[in-house]
Structure formats: C-alpha cells, structure tokens
C-alpha cells in the first residue's frame, strides 16, 4: 500500500507511534553476529515458544524483538528489557523459563544473569549503569540493538522517516545541503573529508545524471561498525541516502556491501523492498516529484574496493583497480558521471542532522571533528564490542573506562587504529583526544573505527609484518611502488622476525616507506607503510632488539624466543601440559615441569594459562 502523500504518511506515523506506546515491556534479544554465534538464536526461539506457551504472545503490551548487535559482544547472548533497562548477559536457552516467570511476568531480577562490575565486584541491574554503556553517546547506533531490523512499522513508530518527510515537505535541496555543511559532518569511512563540501562539488559538477553510492565494504580487519549498522538499522542507512540523493539530485543509488556480510545484504534488500512497497523509494516518493531508487552491489572480496574509485569500477563489473584522483569522483565517478560516495556511518548520521539541525550536531565533538564516532573496540581489552563516543573522548577513557582495560593482568602496550592504513600508538598517547586530526598528527589515523588494543604479549614488529602481509595480498597490483614495494617490505620484515635482520634492513624499509608514500597511485599504497613507520617511531627498541639481540621479548617471533619453566615457581599443577599442542611439557603432578625445547613451537599457550608466573620468555 503506497503512501501517496506526506499527509498520508503523517497518519501512518501517528498509528505506528501509537502502537509503540501501547507496549509496556519490551524484551530485546540481541541477534547480532557475536551473540548469534554464542547461541542467542536458540535463546530467542526458546523465548518465543515460552511466551506462546504462556499465552503471552497475544499481549500487545509485551513485545519481543530480535535485534541487531547490542555492542557488548564479549558477554553475549544479551537480553535487555525496556523501559526498565534490565540487562542480562550470558543468557542460555535453559534460563528462558525463569526469565519469563520472574522478569517478564513479574518484575524480579535474576542476580546470576546480571553484569558484575570488575572493580566493585557488585552486580549491576541496568545497562545504563554499566561503564561500557554509561559513557557512550549512541547516535549512529541509535536504533541498533533496540528494534527488529526489518520492521518498517517499528522504525516509523520510533520516529523513522520523520527527517525524510520534513525534508521533502519543507526543504529545498539547497537547504538540505546547507544543513549538512553547517553540521561539518566528516566522512566516517576513513578519509574524513567534509561531506557537505563533497556533496556541493557534486552539485556543481556538469552533468545530467548523478549517482549516490554507499560504501559498505568495511575491509579494515578489526572493524565491524558498518556491518552492525547495516544489519541492525538498514532503514536508517537508506533514509540517510534518500535525503542525500534529494540534496544532490541523484536518481539512482547503490549500496556496495562486502560479500562477507550476507546478513547485511539480506536486511538491506528487505528494507528496500518494504520501502518501495510503501512509496518511500522509487517513483514519486511520498507523493512528491522526487524519484530515487537503490540497488545492492555485492563486493567480490577485495580490500582495495573500499577505495572509492575501485569501488565504482567494481559496481561497473570491472576489476577493482583505482584511478588517479586528479579528476574527482564528484565530477567523474560511477560510469563517469558526477557521484557522491559516502560511508555507511556517514549516511546514518544524515537523518539525525536534518531532524535536529546541523548546529545541534556541530555542538558535540571537537573544533575540527563534529559529532560522534563508532569504534569497534577489540583485541586485548576486557569488554570487546561496539562503542560510540563523542569526538574528543580520550583513548584512555575508551579503552579503560568503557573497555575495562587490559584483561588477565597484562599491561597495555599499544592501540592500533585506522586498519592497515593506520598506526599504533603507545601508552604515552593514551590521553590523545580522539578526532581525525589528532590521530593523524600522532602518526596513526582515525580510519573507519577499528580500535585494536595490544598488550605486552604483542610483538610490534610482528604487527607491522601482519599488516604488510595483508596489504601485499590486497594490492590491486597496478602500480609499481605498491605491488613491488610491499613485497620487498614484507621480505625485510619477515627476515627481521626470523632473526636475519640487520640495520641495513631498517634503511631499506625507510626507502620503501618513502616510495610507497610518494609514488603510489591510490590511498592504499600511499598509506601502506603507516603500520611500519608508526611502529618504528614508537617501538624502535623492539626492532633493534630483534636485529641486534635476536630476541623477541613479547614471545611471539618463534626464532627469537624461548619458553622456560622456572623450577622454583612451578607447582606442578599440570595446567600447561593440558593446553600444550605438541605435548612437549613433561613432569609429574606436583613436581616442577620441563619444556622440551626441540618440540616446543613457541605458541605461548602454557605461558598464558600458568597461574604461578612460573614460565619465562627468554
């Protein structure tokens, strides 16, 4: 049933809102990838069955939603209640009967399912009290984890498409542009380019056809913000795109989704279909003269296709080789037409900006970076998951207050941001107030939002080698510096990690970093040396230790370390024996054990489980 006019839409909205208001209790079962993997699908199924069994499924005041990612992946499966905010972690299907009886029918809280604060050791009832959530400002993630992703009525009832209706009924494209310019929204995909400026240059470009492209390629390893947004709030992304299309005069749009995200493709396709059915996409949107439609394009599995010109070639059915950007995509982009390409997180912010105003958006953040940023906080951190904070929040706050710090008693060593184009920052930089420019000035970059925490068991030379290896395989191979230079870089780093490094290796690495930065055709190549240069800048001593002492103190580079059991500390608990993959640890129970150095593969499993600090890395 197409909504034929803005007036009709208002009626629809009022109805949807009223339906939402009838709900007295919402049960939100997180069905993001992390929780699903931990079994939340079974929890959701059990919960539905139990509600039916008790005849509660017909109660309109009770709504169960299988939602997108709730963020705190470490503790899934997660079940949350609204409006009470009660937050259950580690929920199993076997808990469901009790939950229905106590928390749904009754108003009781099940203690063992509550989050326990590590510092105070106290149980915490609501998610708002959990440090992980307390310090967050969820704008881009405003709907994720709270609604059923494909439910268009719920989206409308929550205020969805209000911004679009406002834009189409009261604003000209120029006014929309001006609002986005006032917001000073910078691209959230990594480039940080001013979105308003990009849209305006597309409007100014010569041409009769314009395209809008949403970059959902999210290739940075360690980043899953865009996945979460596409899966958990597909309507939000599309609403942002429709508004942008109106502003720049585009009639056709694409969402490019990497092939590793089939659920995102599914949710977006459903959202597109439902929006078409309602008249929110296609011809004469909401009864106005504005026409715009969207197609999904699946990525083929190439990191380089996150680069805008390569992405466009991929939509065109070609190999993903970037072009020189001397002529911008806003002038000659997709099919050589003026094109605006933006990241998922950029578009999800657009409805908010149009609803509340650009000035409101710009009142949060720092001088040069407005609004918030979603980060995937992962690696050696207690609370791994998705967090969103205002620009200007310090790394320390994100990693320690929200993230709960480094687990297992280990020490913080570095935080890696910006994916393979970014760098590693050490403890001395923990007070850096995160924004596009501060991170770049420090030698890293914001990137798309991947934030990987590393501890003293991470070898920074190995990290540089890891990223270089990744880039060698992902290079499109067109230009010489990237294709040839990265291979040489990898060889040098590998030799260093295997004990064959010399100071000349470092000299050659610096030359390669130069030609990569100055000579490469695209941003992949130009930033490819960043992991190496940033680790050389802050962790040069580790490189020198590998080269001059042939030693890896982190215990990672196998040729450069040895694991030994300290007889005096070892209690013979046999825990190490049980985890050793090569069975190279011998010893009787309650007597000191010994590692057979010949058979040891330096995996470090024994070191990681020993509760007596009895294993040394030499």
């Amino acid at each position: 049933m197409k909504v034929a006019s803005l007036k009709e839409f208002e009626v629809l909205r009022a109805d949807a809102k009223a339906a939402q208001e009838k709900i007295r209790k919402k049960i939100l079962v997180c069905c993001g990838t992390g929780c699903l993997a931990a079994g939340s699908g079974k929890v959701a199924a059990a919960l539905r069955a139990e509600l039916v069994r008790k005849g509660l499924d017909v109660d309109v005041g009770l709504k169960m939603n299988e939602t997108g990612c709730r963020g705190l992946c470490e503790l899934g499966p997660l079940v949350t209640f609204e409006p009470s905010g009660i937050f259950y972690k580690g929920v199993k299907a076997s808990d469901v009967a009790e939950i229905v009886e106590k928390t749904i029918e009754g108003d009781e809280v099940i203690q063992r399912l509550l989050y326990r604060d590590k510092a105070s050791k106290q149980r915490v009832e609501t998610y708002e009290e959990i440090p992980f959530y307390k310090s967050q400002t969820r704008w881009a993630l405003r709907n994720v984890g709270l609604m059923a992703p494909k439910d268009i009525t719920e989206y409308i009832g929550r205020g969805g498409f209000a911004a679009l209706a406002k834009v189409l009924s009261t604003m000209t494209p120029e006014e929309v542009l001006a609002e986005v310019e006032t917001a000073k929204l910078r691209g959230r995909g990594g480039g940080g380019f001013d979105a308003g400026r990009k849209w305006r240059s597309c409007v100014n470009a010569k041409g009769d056809e314009r395209y809008l492209v949403c970059n959902g390629d999210e290739g940075d390893p360690g980043a899953f913000m865009d996945r979460t947004i596409m899966e958990g709030d597909p309507y939000g992304v599309i609403e942002g795109m429709v508004i942008a299309a109106y502003a720049i005069g585009a009639t056709a749009g694409f969402i490019y989704v990497r092939q590793e995200y089939p659920l995102a493709v599914q949710h977006l396709n459903t959202a597109i279909e439902k929006m078409r059915d309602l008249g929110l996409l296609g011809k004469k949107i909401l009864g106005t003269e504005f026409c715009f439609d969207i197609k999904i394009a699946r990525g083929g599995g190439a990191f380089v296709c996150g680069e805008s010109s390569a992405l466009m070639r991929s939509i065109e059915g070609k190999v993903g080789e970037p072009r020189a950007k001397y002529i911008h995509g806003t002038e000659k982009g997709l099919y050589d037409k003026p094109t605006v390409l933006g990241n998922v997180e950029t578009f999800i912010n657009v409805p908010l900006i149009l609803e509340k105003g650009g000035a409101w958006f710009a009142s949060t953040g720092t001088e040069r970076s407005k609004g918030t940023k979603a980060f995937s906080l992962v690696g050696k951190v207690q609370n791994t998951g998705l967090v969103e904070v205002p620009m200007g929040t310090s790394l320390r706050e994100i990693i320690f207050d929200i993230g709960g710090g480094v687990p297992k008693g280990r020490t913080f060593k570095a935080v890696q941001t910006g994916g393979p184009s970014g760098g590693c920052l050490p403890a001395s930089h923990l007070d850096t107030r995160v924004d596009f420019d501060t991170l770049t000035e420090a030698g890293s970059m914001m990137g798309s939002g991947g934030m990987v925490v590393m501890d003293d068991r991470t070898c920074m030379v190995d990290v540089a080698r890891y990223f270089t290896k990744f880039l060698v395989n992902e290079s499109c191979g067109k230009c010489v510096p990237c294709r040839e230079g990265l291979q040489q870089m990898l060889r040098l780093l590998t030799e260093i990690c295997e004990g064959a490094g010399t100071l000349r290796h470092l000299e050659q690495i610096e030359n390669l970093a130069h030609v990569l930065k100055m000579g490469s055709l695209c941003a992949l190549g130009k930033s490819a040396a960043n992991p190496v240069t940033s680790t050389l800048r802050y962790f040069r001593d580790e490189y020198l230790e590998h080269i001059e002492e042939k030693k890896c103190s982190a215990g990672v580079c196998r040729a450069l370390c040895r694991y030994e059991i300290d007889e005096e500390k070892c209690t013979g608990c046999t825990l190490c024996t049980s985890v050793c993959p090569t069975a190279c640890i011998t010893g009787e129970k309650k007597t000191p054990h010994e590692i057979d150095q010949e058979a040891c593969i330096r995996c470090g499993s024994c070191f990681d489980v020993c509760g007596f600090n009895a294993i040394r890395i030499l």
Partner: protein, 152 residues
Amino acid sequence: MTTTPDSALILVKYPKEEASIIEILHDIQLAHRHIPKDALSAIAAHTDVPLSRVYGVATFYGAFSFEPKGETVVKCCMGTACHVRGAGRNLEDIEARLGIKSGQTTADGKFSLESVNCVGACGIAPVVTVNSKVLPKFKMTDFDKILGEGEK
C-alpha cells in the same frame, strides 16, 4: 561452450551488460561451490564482454574460485583482533588436524580450509566459521565442533 541449466537460469535474471558480471559470478559460485570454466564463456556471451575480461574479473576477486570447494568450508579469520588473540596458532592446529594447508581441500572433498580476511565479528575473536556457522572465541580444544558441523 556449454551452459548448465543452473547457470542459464542465473544468467537470465541479469541485464545483458558488463555491470552484471560480478553478481552473476556470485550466484554461480553459490550454486556450484566454484566457477565452472565454461560458465565464463556463457557470461562473456550474455554480457557482451570479451572472455579475457570476464576471466580477469573472476581471478581478481577473492570470492571466486575455479577449484570446487569441499562440502564443509572451514574459514579461519585472520583479522587484526583475531590475530592478536591467537588466530595464527588456531590455523596451524586446524591445518595439522585436517591434514591440509589453508587454501586446500581434503582428498575426499569433505573439508576445505581457508584463511580469510576479517569477517567482522571482532567482538568474539578469534573466529572460525564452518559453512555458515560462526564459532566464537575459538580455542584449539574446539576443533571437534568443526567436525561436528561437518557431519551435519
């Protein structure tokens, strides 16, 4: 140049233009667990693009393979979060236990092993996927879960 009935059904869904190539390849890969050689000629004819360019596209992108995958595809995520949480060790262990290296398929066609780019489930690193099932916080002691999934 032969076109299997499945491939013909796939082709007919897509416009006869270059832009359809990658979408067609995805559908064929899903249907056949690989890209049969003669499918490329069919795609070239359908999209009116030289065979060499279709081949260039099929070999550029990591999603497509000419070798058939095993019934159970085990993917070890090598993303950064997984890397720092021990993905490398997991991969070695899985290789040893399946008896194949990453990129290979067991002789009986039952298992393929791949080391893949970040699958975007970093909150539960390290991640191993077995067909569509995601195994969170994978440890070497979880190997039997792989076999279990394979038997399904």
